[in-house]
Subunit: 466 residues, 2 copies
């Protein structure tokens, strides 16, 4: 491409990365940088402008996330077809539960899914990878144990014990490339045509997967303690899928009494199991961390599933099952057949990441980052609280607003859309027949700290119909 | 550990790595290095002895592969419990199809599975990883497409077209963490309770997996052209699992006529499919490469499955499916739900490995390495050929010896064991009821070139009962 002539002013209050971002965005919008034009690499541009590489990366990231540029693997960054994107955005009427990749229609996106990768400790990860590649690399290219490397399983067992109150031996742990794969493997262990109970509002993808695998999904009633055990007893389910530490999306913490009732239900019949999805227990801002249900289980009924995709990065394709004894036997017969889905190298990097204390530091940092956003969002919404009640706060990466202003969920989403704000509705997380909903979901993973006051104000205003 | 006092003599004809290996082995056997003693790192020892790091690595690799030492992830190399290993080896009566990890009982192991990692281009892989980690890393930590990165799928499609005569678009390709996982995913697409036809002698693991997933496996007769289509028609199968380019383990190349018959069978009924496992077509030493069956398919009946675990390294957990159009539609409905099992980073490294021409170079090199071993093995066995007929040669990484000396497979394996040579029998690859077998399998992936003459002579002698 031609030389970029960006004039940066480090005395401006606007950060340098924003100046680069603004300049490039304007160039793209005006056609100065035509569609499919290749941008200079971050390295080249940082040299050229005499700024740090991360400044340029941040600007590119922003352009990427807003759809102005694309990253073509092993080729570099290219200007997107912005005209096309606008057109697509205008005609698109879908409102699925995930953030759209296309188009710069929304100024703020409160998607409850995703991970803030700005804070990912790239340097450490890079150093660990580099050292490993230097050290006895040949061995790392062998296949390894079907369950995963012993070292990683030991490390996870000890982490789970300390941080989550899970009691298990490394032998009970099976490592796999993501929750979706592990649900597939679990399906093979549990046998076909099971009836799975899911709460009415839940992590829908898991229920879709279970169904596609040939099982039946029973939508099970819930109250403020989570899944109702009497409802569970009635629907003939033999597997209950729950998130006791922090129910998704409602944020319910299952009280001990309900936990024990659930365990009692499982004990009543052989072959009954509880799947405990502990997807985001790392993020809790108030009160003590809540121990896992698995820790209460003395009769081998709880299957614990955890992941590093949420707490580190989505591309870290490492999740794990903690199998109770009876299923461990089944695993040895039917599951061990399946070779590991996670490269040894990646397992080794993660092991050193945890053992070196980097994971703990990263979690603490993310907890603080998300907590600040959480607090700022609550703070920003406070002046408008006549219009809603806030629920599910103090944990995770989203909050719920139950509207009391007479608006429906859909009306609020539409109103926000007009302000270029994307918010989500609880009904996207509902299984079965949809009930009328007045509850909104606001995630703060994809929103920058400094944007929150403005975004919260805009939302508050439109909900108060000011 | 105490200072190692190895005196190396670079004027000896024995290579330096062997001197280190011999010294350590003797120390371990004599108890001079007790069980669980930690060995110095390869870096430290190479400095201490003033030899190159790879020399020490080679010695350690040899000790590792013979079970004298163990690699404990993130801790280093430790002396194994050799006593225990000996005892295990002596009492173990199993003769499964894979090489044992324990024990230094066997001097030579002719296992037909595995990959020679000595030749793995570590430096290039390391460089590609390093560069990627420096370049726009944040993006690499996002989740990516469920099917796999577009760039890698394009690269694979183009490679398959050129090298294997497979005709497909990148859209038809689904990347996954190993064949076992992809068989699981395929099972979800094909629906439950299918009848799969496998040849009597086959890649047993695939048939075990298919069975564990809830399908029926029909053992199907074969002749010198591979799976018999009339047998297939009789057994009610709707999926045929074949390896037309180089049948495992018999090495049969399916002639065009049989291929067309197989395709005609699939076309007769909707829902019938052929799974073409093209696991080792890269290694062919005589004649032209044989195009894939997929290339003959004009009616969307062939599911092609390929892997980089065999051609690069087992820990490269990257395999891929090429789905025919009808299944692609099913994939969009039922398969896309499952997030990718391969990290973006690894997909990107592989893409650059192929695009940079390194894969081609690596394949050429391995072809030449394996070809030399293949030729030397045939050469070494020639003086004894009164005792057997050689079959399945000129391709892959093993040959078959059909005994004509009156010995059974089992007798030959036992006789070889007394000479500390591990050889394998065809019956380990037989499904269903076992037939008496007089056929041996000799793989040359795990045997060093210079060992082949000696090993071949030992085998030849014992088969001739000299």
């Amino acid at each position: 491409m031609n030389e970029l002539t960006i004039s940066l002013d480090s005395h401006l209050s606007q950060p340098l990365y924003e100046q680069i971002y603004e300049y490039l965005k304007n160039e793209i919008q005006s056609g100065g940088l035509p569609c499919q034009e290749r941008l200079p690499s971050t390295r080249m541009l940082s040299k050229h402008l005499d700024v740090s590489r991360s400044t340029v990366t941040l600007a590119y990231e922003q352009l990427l996330s807003e759809g102005y540029i694309e990253n073509q693997p092993s080729r570099g960054y290219f200007v997107s077809d912005v005209e096309g994107l606008y057109r697509i955005s205008r005609t698109s009427q879908s409102s699925s539960g995930t953030a759209p990749k296309e188009g710069p229609v929304y100024q703020y996106d409160f998607s409850p899914s995703g991970v803030d990768l700005d804070k990912f400790p790239h340097n450490i990860w890079r150093r660990l990878s580099k050292n490993l590649l230097l050290d006895n690399s040949q061995d790392l290219f062998r296949l390894g144990d079907a369950k995963g490397e012993r070292g990683l399983r030991e490390t996870i067992a000890s982490y789970l014990h300390q941080a989550r109150g899970v009691s298990c031996s490394p032998d009970q742990i099976v490592i796999g490339a993501g929750n979706d794969y592990l649900l597939m493997l679990l399906h093979t262990l549990l046998g076909e045509k099971r009836v799975y109970a899911f709460e009415r509002y839940t992590y829908k993808k898991a229920s879709d997967i279970v169904k596609v695998l040939g099982n039946t999904v029973e939508v099970t009633g819930m109250d403020e303690s989570g899944m109702k055990v009497d409802a569970l007893k009635k629907n003939g389910a033999s597997v209950a899928y729950v998130m006791p530490s922090h129910q998704y999306p409602l944020g319910i913490v299952m009280p001990v009494k309900r936990r024990l009732q659930l365990l009692a239900w499982a004990q009543e019949e052989e072959g009954r199991y509880i799947i405990e999805d502990d997807y985001d227990s790392e993020f809790r801002y108030k009160g003590k961390p809540i121990p896992a249900l698995q820790g209460y289980d003395t009769s081998g009924k709880v299957i614990y599933i955890g992941t590093f995709s949420k707490s580190i990065a989505p591309a870290i394709r490492i999740s794990f099952l903690v199998l109770p004894e009876p299923l461990l036997e089944v695993y040895e017969k039917r599951g061990r057949l399946f070779s590991t889905t996670v490269p040894r190298m990646d397992q080794q990097i993660l092991t050193e990441f945890i053992q070196g204390g980097y994971y703990e530091r990263h979690l603490n940092r993310m907890r603080s980052v998300y907590r600040t956003r959480h607090d700022m969002l609550l703070e920003g919404l406070r002046p408008f609280q006549k219009a809603f009640k806030i629920r599910g706060e103090h944990a995770g990466t989203h909050i719920l607003l139950e509207l009391t202003n007479g608006m429906t969920e859909k009306e609020a989403i539409e109103a926000a859309k007009k302000e270029a704000i994307r918010i989500y509705g609880l009904s996207s997380y509902e299984l079965g027949e949809k009930h009328p909903s007045v509850t909104l979901i606001l995630g703060y993973v994809n929103i920058r700290e400094k944007e929150i006051p403005d975004a919260a104000k805009l939302i508050g205003k439109l909900l108060l119909r000011e």
